[in-house]
């Protein structure tokens, strides 16, 4: 399991726009980098990042090799109700990881 850091405000007012920050540890090997003998290192990247809020998709990003290693992505959403925000990263070589964060909306 790759290490993931997620920053969601634990509490928010109903209707407030909140910023969500995510970071996951991953090499993001672009597939364009030569190794010491000049052979290209095979591509191994994260291709998709999806965030869902109580089951509803709130953010989806298609990622390409131009994303830096240990991808950091932040975005906004409206705090509508208490519940869970789920984050899923999917990538090459069967990479898949899901993390969740709880939010309380008053």
């Amino acid at each position: 399991m790759a290490r993931a850091l997620i920053n969601v405000p634990p509490k928010a007012k109903r209707g407030e726009v909140i910023e969500i920050k995510t970071l996951i540890s991953h090499e993001i090997e672009s597939g364009f980098r030569p190794d010491s003998v000049g052979k290209l290192v095979p591509r191994d990247i994260i291709t998709l990042f999806v965030a869902t809020y109580n089951g509803q998709e709130i953010f989806r990003a298609d990622l390409h090799p131009a994303i830096a290693a240990n991808p950091f992505i932040s975005f906004f959403t409206v705090a509508t109700e208490s519940g869970k925000i789920e984050f899923k990263w999917t990538g090459d070589n069967g990479f898949s990881q899901t993390e969740t964060a709880a939010i309380t909306v008053e």
Partner: protein
Amino acid sequence: MTHADQSPSTTRRSVLIDAARIAGGALLVTALPGSGSATPAAMLGAMKKVMGEAPLRKGKVKLELPPLIENGNSVTMVVSVESPMTAEDYVKAIHVFNEKNPQPNVISAHIGPRAGRAAMTARIRLADSQKVIAVAEMSDGSFWSDETEVIVTLAACLEVL
């Protein structure tokens, strides 16, 4: 010879420019065997895939990148779009393209009225000094953009392990 009787495809100037382009292309290929590079044309192709034939207008989008980048391996990029983000008028997606990385696409983020604010941050790689373009796809089908020229002193992708 008057200006009017020169057909654009056969002027001395265009022949020289074409020859220079071919020579330049051949040089690039021999210098970097096996590593393709996106070109401004490849970038336009990638943009066309997203936009179709819709016109691209300037404005509404703000692409923030440091103008001078010392390390292209990790560059913080902020894209924000002016939009009320209501159910009738919102940003559907934010796409970022580049000219000179091996591939023209950087990220395509799909959002909606639920986002509240049309903005995102990501850390990206830049292989060379180049132009980066952010395109916002609106709910009414229009496309708006902002572009930035960046100077990269240490390029991503090319370091040897």
